[in-house]
Structures are given as C-alpha cells and as structure tokens.
C-alpha cells in the first residue's frame, strides 16, 4: 500500500487523557482511535495487526478441534436468571438496555449462559461429545475506570472457547491441549519466553484456574515466578498452603508485574446443571456435561505486544503480526530514477506475496524515518540515489537497528511468505 494513500497519519502527541503507553503509541502511529475512555476504534494499520492475531488464534483453536461460531451481543434476561448472573451484584460490569416494548436486555460480558442453553439442542447422548466451540466476539464490560488503553477496554473482542466433555479425564486432557495451544499463540505473536502459565484462583468453580501472564512493568497483576522451573503463581494464591502443594519455596520465586494475556478455567457442572445440559451414557444413565472456558482478549494481547516490545522510538512488531512485512522508504522521489526503482521493487515484492507499505510521500528523510520507527514494521528498506548507485538497498531491522545492504533478489527471497 502507498503511504500517501493511507488515510491515517502519525501524530506527535496522543490525547492528554491517555495515560497507557500502549494506547499512546498506537494512537500516535495511527493504529487506533479513542472514541471515549475504554472504547477504541481500529484503523487500517491497527486492524491489520488485529486480524493477524485473530488468524493465529483461529489456526490454533481449529488445530485442537474448535468449531467456530458467532453468538450475539444482545442477551435475554431470562437466560441469565437461570444462573443468577443477571444480577448486578454478581456481574457488576453489565451494560443493560431495553427493547422498544420495554423488556430488559443485557450486552454480553461473556457467553457461558447463551451457549450452554444453545448446546442443549445438540447434546443429549455420549455420542454427541466431546465438543469444542469458540468465537471471536465483542464483549461489553462497564468498568468504572478504564485507564489501560486497549488492555482493559469497555468494548473489546475476545476469543472465547467452551469445552463440553463427558468426564473429568476427557476434560483435563483437552484442558492441557488448550494450554499448549495458548503457549503456541503467545510464542507466535512474539511474547514467547516472557509469558508463563500461572496458577490463579479458581473462583467459585474450582480450586485453581490457569492464567497466562506476560512479564511486563505495565501489568496490573503481581505474580511470583520461577523462570528456572517455568512456574508462576498469581499473588491471589501465593500462600503457604499453595506453595507447599506445589513444592515451592518463597526463596526461589521472583515477584514481578505481569499482564494476563489469557486464562483457562474449569467450569465443572455449574452451567450444565443450571440449564439441564445432560447426556445419556452408553448404559442410558444421565450425567451433567463437564465444561471449561478458555479466553484470550485480542486487544489485550495486541496492547501487551505494544507495551512489551516497543522502545523509545515507537512500536516494534514481530513479523507474524506486523501490519506490513516491510516498509519501503523512498528518499528523494522527485528524482525519477528513484521513483522508478521504488515502484519496481514494490511491484516485485508484492507480486512475490510480501505485504509492503511504500512511503511515497513528499517529506523529509528525518520525518520519514521517525514515522517508520513509530509504526514499527520489522524491516525498513531505503531507496535513494545512493541505493541506485550501489545496486543494493539499505535494510534496517526495526527491533535491533541492525543494518545490511541487500539486492532486490535477496529481499524478495527473504520477504516471500513461507509456506
């Protein structure tokens, strides 16, 4: 895409009321737009990153047998009354609204209730399981404060998967497979090595749940971490009893701030019992279905990458989720030869399947480089009268600043999508 055509521009300053680094950088780079506190639109660059994260998660969820659906935002009061969660004393972040006829509706904060109700139409026998169902769907949470940018929004897209199993054993096997798929997701979006599976409170449903925590100063959570053992505990379960259960001593754990980028949660029969979601086993005996839920907030994950991988100059995207594979920066495009060379390289790279942002704007080199650093595309390729003379292009790796000179052929080979 030509940068001169892209409707967004970089900004020197984020809005004054925006205190989160992720949102400051993403707004300045033109990735997102703040509609109000905790409510952000995604602009072309931001939506490209978002869609790549979505596709990585989709691949991993399909890989463990997930079937994709899309539930609704508008929620029927009677469905939520079955579990008592319609009450604002139980879920304190409801947004509620009304139909024209006066009946109350809710905006979904999560989807256990409607999905459990729905599955009653499709599960009745042991033959109908296991089933793993997921969606990418907007959640609405009426948070009192929203100061963490896209990491804790009032309106955000979550991938939520729900498991329906016949036994604790079948459930646990899937739970572990999903935990591994989650680790692959975090690895693939660039947070590997800094993201740890973390023991957390199971709430009312079970003893523990598992969180996935990315070590980062901007995190709202405190975890106790043994990097050596690859084990971590959320502060909420950091007590002598749990330490003893897990065979850990305080001395080997480091206290760090972290961002919860995912969590997985045994639900037991809490929802299946409330909705009468049961199945008959091979002998005709009826049992409630064993459920689990598995969430990743996409904005949260994108915000975490923005927080954790950025530097003083701006964003730093891993290639897997970068808005473009390469940033072609043309200097002195008023020189016809330079413009021609840029057009040719752009054509060759895009025809090879690479996604390229071509800075064809009439602007100073300093401004172009600063914008390029802020936007954070993994490789910057500079085309100028100098590169013309050399027959090689200066290539700067955004993450490291490493500079190399490469021919067009080398670049095409490097940026061609791997199959």
């Amino acid at each position: 895409m030509k940068q001169g055509t892209l409707f967004t521009k970089t900004r020197r300053e984020a809005p004054k009321d925006e205190v989160a680094k992720n949102a400051q950088l993403l707004i300045r780079g033109g990735f997102i737009h703040k509609e109000m506190a905790g409510v952000y639109s995604y602009l072309p660059l931001g939506l490209r990153v978002f869609k790549k994260i979505e596709e990585i998660i989709r691949e991993e969820m399909n890989g463990i047998g997930g079937q994709e659906i899309s539930l609704t935002t508008l929620q029927d009061k009677s469905v939520w009354e079955k579990t008592g969660r319609w009450s604002e004393e139980v879920i304190d972040v409801w947004f509620k609204t009304k139909l024209a006829n006066g009946s109350e509706l809710g905006l979904a904060t999560t989807h256990e209730e409607p999905l459990t109700a729905l599955m009653r139409e499709y599960i009745s026998s042991w033959r109908d399981m296991p089933r793993y169902v997921y969606q990418f769907q907007t959640k609405f949470r009426n948070e009192l404060r929203a100061k963490s940018g896209i990491m804790r929004a009032r309106e955000f897209v979550m991938k939520d998967l729900y498991s329906f199993d016949r036994s604790e054993g079948e459930f646990k096997e899937f739970y572990e497979r999903c935990a591994q798929a989650y680790m692959r997701v975090f690895e693939r979006v660039g947070l590997g090595g800094m993201t740890f599976r973390t023991f957390a409170s199971g709430g009312s449903f079970s003893k523990f749940s598992d969180e996935f925590q990315t070590v980062c100063e901007a995190g709202e959570d405190t975890i106790y971490l043994s990097r050596k053992k690859g084990i971590a505990l959320n502060k909420e379960v950091y007590n002598d009893g749990v330490l003893k259960d897990l065979g850990l001593s305080k001395g080997e754990l480091e206290e760090v701030k972290a961002i919860e980028v995912g969590n997985i949660f045994p639900l037991g029969t809490r929802f299946s019992e409330a909705f009468g979601l049961t199945y008959k086993d091979e002998k005709g005996k009826e049992h409630p279905v064993i459920m689990g839920c598995y969430g990743i907030g996409l904005g949260r994950l994108m915000g975490t990458v923005a927080e954790a991988l950025s530097d003083s100059k701006g964003l730093v995207w891993p290639r897997s989720i970068a808005p473009f594979d390469a940033h072609l920066v043309e200097l002195g495009g008023e020189n016809e030869e330079v413009r021609k060379e840029a057009a040719e390289l752009y054509k060759d790279l895009t025809e090879a399947g690479a996604e390229v942002l071509w800075d064809d704007r009439d602007a100073r080199a300093g401004e172009k480089f600063a914008d390029s650093d802020l936007i954070g595309i993994p490789v910057r390729i500079v085309i100028s009268s100098k590169s013309l003379a050399e027959g090689k292009f200066e290539c700067v790796e955004r993450a490291t600043g490493k500079t190399e000179h490469k021919t067009a052929g080398e670049l095409i080979e490097e940026l061609r999508p791997r199959t």
Copy 2:
C-alpha cells in the same frame, strides 16, 4: 470436516414463532440459532457462508480503493447531538445504555457521526483526499417488530463504506464505481440477473438514492421494473414526475416484490458541515468535504440467497458462498472398503484445496440425502459399494438434480480452487 464431529444437527422443525422462510431453513439446517426475535447466532455452517460473503465484499471494496477499519458499538451522546440524531424522534431505533457513572451511551445504528468526527483528524487539505473507508461492523436497531429472520434483525453486521471527496464530480465518479462493485458482489453471491439497481428516495440528503433490489416474493419492498431496460423504481418514487424525468411509461413497468440487498446514498455536506470537516483547496480556500455512504447488510444478503435460491427440499447455495464445496455422502460405512474409499477421496479432495463435508454418520441413506438436500452444498458425491464396483462416484448437482458419474481424478480437477 466430518459431519459426525460437527456439533450441529439438522432439525425437522423450526421454532413455532419463526415465520420467515430464510430463518426456518437456516435454523433447520443448523446454520443459525434464534436467541430471541430478530437476534440470531451464527453456527459453524452459517458462519462459513457469512465469512465467504464477507470476503467477496471485502475484495470488491478493496478493489475500489476502500481502506478497512472497525469502529465501535458504544456511542458518545455528544457526537450524535451535533447532527440532532441522538434524539429518538429522529432515529427511532436506538438502543441506549448507561456508563457506570450514569452518562448515557447509544449502541450504533449506523456510523456517519463517529467516522466524520474521526476524519477531522486526518483530512485538512486537498492532498488528503479522496478517501474511502469501510468496515464490517455490528449495528443495533431497536425494531418494534422483527419477523423477517436474518433479513431484518435487531443486531446485524453491515458493510458500510463512507466516501470523502473534494467535488461533486469526484464523488459521482466514485459513486458509480461503487454501484458497479455492488453489482459484482450480487452477481458473485448468486443473485445476478435478479438484482436491479433501483431509484429510491434520497430522504433529506438528496433527490434520489440508489437501492439494489432482488426480485423475491418475500421482499418487503414493491418496485416497478423494466427487465428489458434494466431499470427499476421503488414504489416511494413511482409518480408521474419521476417517470417523466426518467423517460419511462407505466405500461413498460412490472410491479414486483423485492428485497433491498444494498443501498448507496449521497450525503452531500450534511455531516461534514455539522462536524466542521473541511479542507483547503490548492488556493487555500476552505470547503466542506462531499460525503456518501454505501451499505450492504451481510445477514440480509445471506437471508436473500436463502429465500431466493432454496426449493422445497431446502437450501441451495452457489459454490462461491457454500459452506463446503462438496458433500461426500458415505452409504454403508460399516463396509470397511467403503469407509476406506471415502477416507481416501476426502483426503485427496481436501489436499487439492477443496472444502468437503464428509457425512461419516451411521444413518440411513434416506436421512443422509434429506439432510444433504436441506444443507444445500452444491454437489453431493455418493460413496457406496456400488461406486466401489464401478470405480466412479454418483454426483448430484443440488441446484438442478443433474446426476453424473465421475472418477476421483475428475472430481479433484473440478473441485480444486480456481486461481
């Protein structure tokens, strides 16, 4: 995908309160689930169709220079007050809700206001245009009645594009390009030949707008159509004055029911003036930006295909948006040879890139054929001891019932995606 794994099943009956044919068929086939009147979830088969429609529209919108974004559901009252459209006397289908602090919010019915406000940050000079911005985003409309299935829902996804131009001429040129792109969309989803560009009321913004109407008995609209001239008028503008303007006589127009599958609309400077979205021309003189909007409801379009192309046995999908390219129906899978042959053909077809639903269920032939007809995948391939003996598979075209016998090689060639 193996049908025995798919979590949905076909149903003999739709819910009693569901009167629309599109929703009846889609619910019975397991494509959608009714949460409440006008609110439908999309299940795996339905979401596959939906995503293919989305991708066709995306390609066409990108092809005319559209840049994709995603705005928000939650809407700031103060933004809508600028045009007076916060009032329920002006927009009578608002859903409204409240932040925890008591401030009122709306759920977006459309997005002219927030996008015009946003574009002020990026448009100030003639150099910043033209710009074409679109999204696939959920709209909420608090309709008093919702009886048309997914054709008129209270919560639905719309593709809405907005144009920002410098002059009437530039605007009109784009408007025509978009009208042509719309006709390609309708052609590609299988509604070509029965969908007509139709003169409609321009409302408060201009003399005419253009609707795209698909001729169908289930339609809520009445249009007057000359198939010969390829011209149509909505009843709302069917009067002597307009007929004279267009050089048409009543005698050459046929009155038919039709479904509005898209509309495009000049907005003039209504929104740009309300928000102060102006630009400076080459001489430094300030002008308001000329806008237009262009909508296609994705559920509406999918529902129209369901209404218009189905028959007494069920749904009939064109290959371009079918949930799968082929339905592999195995009969007598308890015969190991049959099962092996089915597995092999399934593998060969999917490896060639075809999307195949393999009915591996232990069920009677009659039930499998009825389900296959209801689901409406374009080609049914039957594998049985008979096909084993012949070395050819019986292939039935869903739309016509035409039966042919084909070898595995011929099927692979036919179902391989065209590049």
